[in-house]
């Protein structure tokens, strides 16, 4: 049996440098290949090269064989004729990849009608039954702005599957989705493979690779450093980078609650009694009791939109609860309750350099710059970084600056709101390690919000789980995926 996809000596380069070093891959019908790597590792370029969607300024060399036919040298128009027929692509962030002015059903039906030339009535019937099979029966007539992130992802999967192409590429299919939705997407992709498609998944999420099984190719700096069956690679990684990557996956961490006593929380810093809050007519939580002690980490976990962030903001006093009370340790100043944000870039004034931002805090609280410098070196932030603006610094570095900024005012309580959900796994591990060290050193009380139960288990001695206040497929008017609740 010939391979569905066969890539040999594939190389992608810009005018300035080589972005993907010559690599070879093979994928058969019914198989899953997960290309695992961090931002900038070249994994998305690899997918684009196979699909034929590379930007024209990038040069691509090597052999790309689809179903026995060499396609790498074909002109763009001929490559395009393969789309939907030989190879299909499940796009990143389906919420923005769906046509905003067309109902979900039409976006699936058009594949049957226009690609396969079926009559529209039949096309619509097939689309409706495919969506119903994914639990989206009621969403057929809905426009994307009334779909949740998870629903949009399933519509995109249905539209991609409708092509019936023997090869399915999925580029970061779980970006911005919480753990529950990630597992759902993994199951759907596995089902496509079981149905006979060759499935290639591009991701930075080790958890997704673990769930998909199949084979794994690990990419680092444009190079495939390790390939093998997922089980083997995950159980016994050979390359050092793979080991780092796996160690950064919270699922492999020892539960933080286990060594009891080692991390025993001290005196209560912040406590809440009988908290309730409703937003937009939905009760997010009620009768909730919570206590965070010095040196302890409490996690709040749950799916997107369940009110995790709202709970944190109520505890911080940014929002008033509908019922219940929040009490702080007596005698602590208001500014000693701090917050770390999901998107570090948005947490700094965009036009000011980081040095100015930290200088403001130093001046406001009558501190010395030395204190800031000490914290920055503890957070491993190089001094040269400080003359840049927030948008010019990488997410991981900026999150460490944000941590240093919060620590400057000597906090007793820190609310980390999905603080690492936008970071690559290795960076997430670094930031979380720093947070752990800080908590141990300063006896800080931390409340961390996360959609990742593994991260909560690995970091916190206690986890509060919030559930979705209403059925998941309820009418959705909120912001797109990626925003934490």
């Amino acid at each position: 049996m010939t391979a569905a996809v066969e890539v040999s000596g594939l190389r992608v380069a810009s005018a300035a440098r080589v972005l993907v070093r010559p690599c070879s891959l093979e994928l058969r019908a019914g198989e899953i290949l997960v290309v695992l790597g961090e931002t900038g590792s070249g994994k998305s370029l690899l997918a684009q090269a196979i699909m034929g969607t590379l930007p024209p300024e990038l040069a691509c060399a090597g052999r790309i064989v689809l179903g026995g036919e060499e396609v790498g040298h074909l002109p763009p128009a001929a490559r395009r004729r393969l789309w939907g027929r030989r190879i299909a692509l499940l796009p990143q962030e389906p919420w923005s990849a769906l046509n905003p002015t067309m109902a979900a059903g039409g976006q699936v039906a058009e594949v049957h009608a226009l690609l396969h030339g079926r009559p529209w009535a039949e096309a619509r019937r097939r689309a409706a039954s495919a969506l119903a099979a994914l639990g989206l029966g009621r969403a057929v007539g809905r426009h994307p702005f009334r779909l949740s992130g998870g629903m949009a992802q399933r519509v995109a999967i249905a539209a991609t599957a409708a092509t019936g192409a023997p090869v399915l590429l999925a580029d970061e299919p779980t970006k911005g989705l919480d753990a529950g939705l990630r597992d759902e997407v993994a199951a759907l992709l596995a089902a496509e493979a079981a149905g006979g498609a060759a499935v290639m998944v591009i991701t930075h999420d080790v958890g997704l690779a673990r769930r998909l099984g199949g084979r794994v190719a690990v990419m680092l700096d444009g190079e495939v450093v390790e390939t093998g069956p997922a089980g083997e690679v995950i159980a016994a990684p050979r390359h050092a980078y793979t080991r780092l990557l796996l160690a950064a996956d919270p699922e492999t961490w020892a539960p933080a609650g286990a060594p009891a006593g080692a991390r025993a929380a001290g005196a209560t810093v912040l406590s809440a009694r009988g908290l309730a809050k409703a937003l937009g007519g939905r009760t997010l939580f009620s009768g909730l009791d919570l206590e965070v002690g010095a040196g302890g980490i409490v996690a709040v976990a749950g799916p997107s939109g369940c009110g995790k962030t709202t709970l944190g903001n109520v505890l911080l006093g940014l929002l008033a609860p509908d019922a219940g009370t929040v009490s702080r340790r007596p005698g602590t100043a208001a500014h000693r309750y701090q917050k770390i944000y999901q998107d570090p870039v948005a947490a700094f004034a965009p036009q000011a350099t980081l040095r100015a931002a930290l200088g403001d805090v130093v001046a406001r609280h009558g501190l010395s710059w030395d204190a800031a410098a000490r914290l920055l070196s503890a957070m491993r932030v190089p001094d040269g970084l400080l003359d840049r603006r927030p948008a010019q610094v990488s997410g991981g570095e900026l999150q460490r600056v944000a941590l240093a900024r919060a620590l400057l005012v000597d906090p007793v309580f820190l609310f980390a709101d999905e603080a690492t959900s936008r970071l690559d796994p290795l960076t997430q591990k670094q930031v979380m390690d720093l947070l752990n060290e800080t908590v141990a050193e300063r006896r800080l009380a931390v409340l961390m919000v996360t959609h990742d139960p593994a991260l909560a288990r690995g970091m916190a001695s206690r986890t509060v789980r919030l559930e979705m206040p209403s059925p998941r497929d309820a009418l959705y008017f909120g912001p797109g995926p990626g925003d934490s609740g």
């Binding site: 309750y337 948005a346 947490a347 004034a349 403001d360 944000a402 005012v409």
Partner: protein, 277 residues
């Protein structure tokens, strides 16, 4: 006179040509007109109102570098005074509209609630009518006078500053960096200086440039149809009205005020790049 936004919400798409070239051209045009307005009346000693019927409709040359109009008045002196009048009235209107517009916009965004709703309603009632219609109705109080133009234009355009500042400020204030600043113990003055103003400067500069252009166009349009400033006061629009009957004998003179008007508006548009959205 409304500054029409031309940028869609769909995202930034580069305009053709080089941005630097556009800016340089725009700045050059503005510099020329600005110099004429500022230094012209002071350097040229001809009286823009002095008639000399024997020297009517002379071509450029002699004692009149740009020739004379149908009443023998010096074109260059008239153009320079008109430039000063248009730009002066424009600048006064823009400042009069921008200051309360910005302050009320900040107040609405900061206070929210009832203050925001009340100011929003006020803004909606001013915007119910196209701006020029408002100016025309006011001009009914004193046709040909200076003040209805100034008051009407300022009244019609403060809402644009209000709306833009309110929108920018409201979205900025909802961002995490403002929340973080408050948690870190900073007060409103710091938030405005560090988090709001830097984001407001760009849109405000654009708005003011387009406001200036809109005012200059509105004044000349109204003067052209006989409602704005009236002869013998030199104004680009009324100069064109006066010279229109002589288009065959003196096409150059007819072209001059129009060219200056065009240079001013085009210069402002080029310097800004994009119209405010």
């Amino acid at each position: 006179m409304t500054a029409i936004p031309e940028t869609s919400a769909a995202g930034a798409v580069p305009a053709p040509g080089s941005a630097r070239g556009r800016r340089a051209l725009g700045a050059g045009l503005l510099l020329a007109v600005g110099l004429l307005a500022l230094a012209g009346p002071w350097l040229i000693d001809a009286d823009p109102l002095r008639q000399d019927l024997r020297a009517a409709l002379r071509g450029p040359g002699g004692g009149h570098p740009l020739g004379t109009d149908h009443l023998g008045r010096d074109m260059l002196a008239r153009l320079a005074h008109a430039a000063r009048l248009s730009l002066g009235l424009g600048a006064a209107t823009v400042l009069t509209a921008a200051v309360p517009g910005v302050l009320l916009g900040l107040a609405a965004a900061w206070r929210g609630g009832a203050v925001d709703r009340a100011l929003g309603a006020l803004c909606a009632s001013v915007m119910a009518l196209p701006g020029l219609l408002l100016v025309l109705v006011l001009a009914g109080f004193a046709p040909g006078a200076f003040w209805p133009l100034y008051v009407g234009l300022a009244l019609a355009s403060w809402v644009e500053y209000f709306r833009v500042v309110r929108a920018v400020a409201a979205s900025r204030l909802a961002r995490p960096d403002v929340e973080a600043a408050r948690l870190l113990g900073f007060g409103p003055a710091h938030v405005v200086r560090r988090h709001l103003l830097p984001d407001l400067v760009g849109p405000l500069a654009t708005l003011m440039a387009f406001g200036l252009a809109a005012t200059v166009v509105a004044v000349s349009s109204l003067s052209f149809v006989g409602i704005g400033l009236r002869p013998p006061t030199p104004e680009w629009g009324n100069m064109m009205t006066e010279l229109l009957p002589y288009h065959a004998e003196a096409p150059l003179q007819l072209l001059m005020p129009g060219t200056l008007l065009f240079a001013t508006v085009l210069g402002l548009a080029l310097v800004c790049g994009r119209e405010p959205s």
